[in-house]
Amino acid sequence: MDFSLAEERRLLQDTIKRYLGREYAFDQRRKRLAANAGISREIWKQLAELGVLGIGIREDDGGMGGDAFDTMIVMEAMGRALVVEPYLSTVVLAAGLISDAGSDAQRAAWLPAIAAGEKLLAFAHGEAAARYAASYVETRAVRSGKGWKLEGTKAVVLNGDSADALIVSARTGGNVSGREGISLFIVDPKSRGVSLRAYPTQDAGRAADLRLNGVEVGDDMRIGAEGQALAFIERSLDRANAALCAEAIGIIEAMNEATLEYLKTRKQFGQPIGRFQALQHRMADMTIKAVEARSMAILAASAMSSADPDERARRVASAKAFVSQAGRFVGQQAIQLHGAIGMTDELVVSHWFKRLAMIDVTFGDAEHHLGRVSDMILAEA
């Protein structure tokens, strides 16, 4: 057992922290967000130069290699800095899916370009009636000539509006929530029949609702075997949730630091408010949550290399449930302990709070994942 970071990971951590500290301070972020919504091509290019966009992509696919622990380091730093760029969508989700399930031609076409920062992708899977259920897919793909015709709607596609390509899940067989019969397609958003309704998100990111109206896709755009995509989708969602857990602990720890500093400096009744035992205990509870949340984020990253999909799913679900709950507690208490100033747009605390709330509801909230673990208990022999 070894919980220490290997030397190259420490280097990666230093690099990304230093970079974001220099280029992504809260004021710089605010100015940049006012100027361009959701993505800064300049930042994206620099992230590519640092090699960050190639993490998790194999070296022979043009990437930097590395596993979920490397992604964890990046996401943690991005959480603290509140990075809105489409890292989760493009690198964690899309590159992960293509790495896991893509053909040689698809890997060659997309992975080096992702690592180089030349292509952005988005994962269009969730639907309005699914809530968070991974296997519930109404969108259909039917054979049409040599390819496929896609019909349906996708909800809250993260970074859907800036993507050069969308990875869309669609049913090619089976019933609406069946495990069999889901396929994945790479769709050019400029294709006829694709319409996107784009909007900003509560945490200053971007997303879009997607409508596919008889969209023609070639069979070479299908990822993996027909009707067999769910296992890959689940693995991708687990990977994304493990990454979100890491992002969340970056925020949770930053909020705790800021709150602790406030308790030491804010004076009321002639003394720092941190002298009041009620607040000391609250801060102690926040610290306990943060320590355990980090443990769970580590567990989730480690689960991504598990050969057993059930074990992986259970650990990631446990982590997302725990970290989401911890995020609610720390987020709400950090605002409470700051008082009214914690509710202002001016302070970074309120922005961390909003991001934590959105991490919670992205790819399944605490109760959804608690439910998954609960169902797995029922299924135990």
Binding site: G126, A128, A129, A130, R131, Y132, A133, Y136, A155, V156, V176, S177, R197, Y199, P200, T201, Q202, D203, G205, A207, D209, K267, Q268, F269, I273, F276, A278, L279, R328, Q332, I335, Q336, G339, A340, G342, M343, T344, D345, E346, S350, H351, F353, K354, A357, M358, V361, T362, D365, E367, L370, G371, S374
Partner: protein, 398 residues
């Protein structure tokens, strides 16, 4: 022991219900139910309708133009208005400064201000908190120095709600530095149009402009606008806070929001089925329903005690703590009910006259913002930590 309303109270409830049904404009009720932005005119419209019927100041005695209702009648009235989707009557004039003027003001002040509060001619706002004085309100520094027949006021107030619309502000100011901090505070009424008063907006996390900083720079305030005695303002301030807290349980509003939460859970889908059929989610609704019941009965117990002795006691702190926690739980559940549709932030969708196509279900747009904004309820009008101090000291004697 009888938990049912009396025949008179039931008749009163029917009378209120019928009046609200007939007189609350449908478009206004729709705005409230749908969580749209309310304008100054929206608040005033309902204020004037109630004033015409003599019901705008539910807590006032008859001698000042109130209906002279019992606390239970006031509760019934609040509940009926909230259920129907009426905007709440802003507390700053009717519930906050008016009881102080009635109890401690002089004849001229009563004659001038009270009718204008009733009619809505004067919109009031509150000048209590300062950047360095939040929970420790008595440490406030805004100074009022007496010069001839007026005071000169200098300082800064903050966390002022809707002061951008206000005609008048009631302020706690420092007039003395001797003795304990509580001893040199006075209660001043200031016309917002006086030269030297500046209102600066504070944007809150959900992106709205609800609160302000108010700056006072050599603001001349006539001595006639001092309420009661100089340096006795702390007594009046505490009296006011007691009154503010009685309405704060917010039972009527929470019952309305609970109903809305159930409606949303019936319309949302999870794996293609109505979310309400998901026992895990339904249990969370059940939990908050039970908590509302506990608060409602507790509220009625406190109110019936208050009917006997008038002044609200430290029990109001219990109502404030639980009332705010329940409002926060409801706003959180409502946001969780819509799943990933909490993410879109379509600000224009909060405008009642916006005609665009909603993103996701039509009820989704305000829910995340309301969750964010409602973190205020455990901070404002005495943070919940301060309420627990009051419970520890005043009820438990610790």
């Amino acid at each position: 022991m009888d938990l049912e309303y009396t025949a008179d109270e039931r008749a009163f409830r029917d009378e209120v219900r019928e009046f609200v049904q007939r007189n609350l404009p449908t478009d206004l009720a729709a705005k409230v139910h749908e969580g749209k932005r309310l304008s100054r005119e929206d608040f005033l419209a309902w204020h004037r309708i109630l004033h015409k019927r003599g019901w705008v100041a539910a807590g006032w005695p008859k001698e000042f133009g109130g209906p002279g209702w019992t606390p239970v009648q006031q509760h019934i009235f609040d509940e009926e208005c909230a259920a129907a989707g009426a905007p709440f009557v802003l507390p700053f004039g009717v519930r906050m400064v008016a009881p102080v003027i009635q109890r401690f003001g002089n004849g001229t002040q009563k004659d001038y201000f009270l009718p204008r509060i009733l009619s809505g001619e004067h919109w009031w706002c509150q000048g209590y908190s300062e950047p360095g004085s939040g929970s420790d309100l008595a440490s406030l520094k805004t100074r009022a120095v007496r010069e001839g027949d007026h005071y000169v006021v200098n300082g800064q107030k903050t966390w002022n709600t809707l002061g951008q619309y206000a005609d008048w502000i009631f302020c706690l100011v420092r007039t003395g530095t001797e003795g304990r901090p509580q001893e040199g505070i006075s209660f001043l009424l200031i016309d917002m149009k006086t030269p030297g008063v500046t209102v600066r907006p504070i944007r809150t996390l959900e992106g709205e402009h609800e609160i302000n900083e108010i700056w006072f720079e050599d603001v001349k305030v006539p001595i006639a606008n001092l309420v009661g005695e100089e340096n006795k303002g702390w007594t009046y301030a505490k009296f006011l806070l007691g009154h503010e807290r009685t309405g704060i349980a917010g039972v009527g509003r929470s019952k309305r929001e609970l109903k809305k939460l159930k409606d949303i859970a019936r319309r949302e889908r999870s794996s293609g089925h109505p979310l309400i059929e998901d026992a895990r989610f339904r249990d969370r609704i059940a939990q908050v329903e039970i908590e509302i019941l506990a608060l409602e009965v507790t509220n009625l117990r406190v109110l019936s005690e208050e009917g006997k002795q008038r002044t609200p006691g430290p029990e109001a702190s219990i109502l404030k703590v639980r009332g705010s926690e329940i409002q926060q739980s409801l706003s959180e559940l409502m946001m969780h009910a819509i799943g990933h549709y909490a993410l879109p932030h379509v600000r224009e969708a909060l405008d009642a006259d916006w005609t665009g196509e909603p993103v996701g279900p039509d009820y989704a747009a305000p829910l995340a913002g309301t969750y964010f904004n409602f973190r205020k309820t455990s901070i404002y009008s005495g943070s919940n930590e301060i309420q627990k101090n009051i419970i520890s000291q005043m009820i438990l004697g610790l």
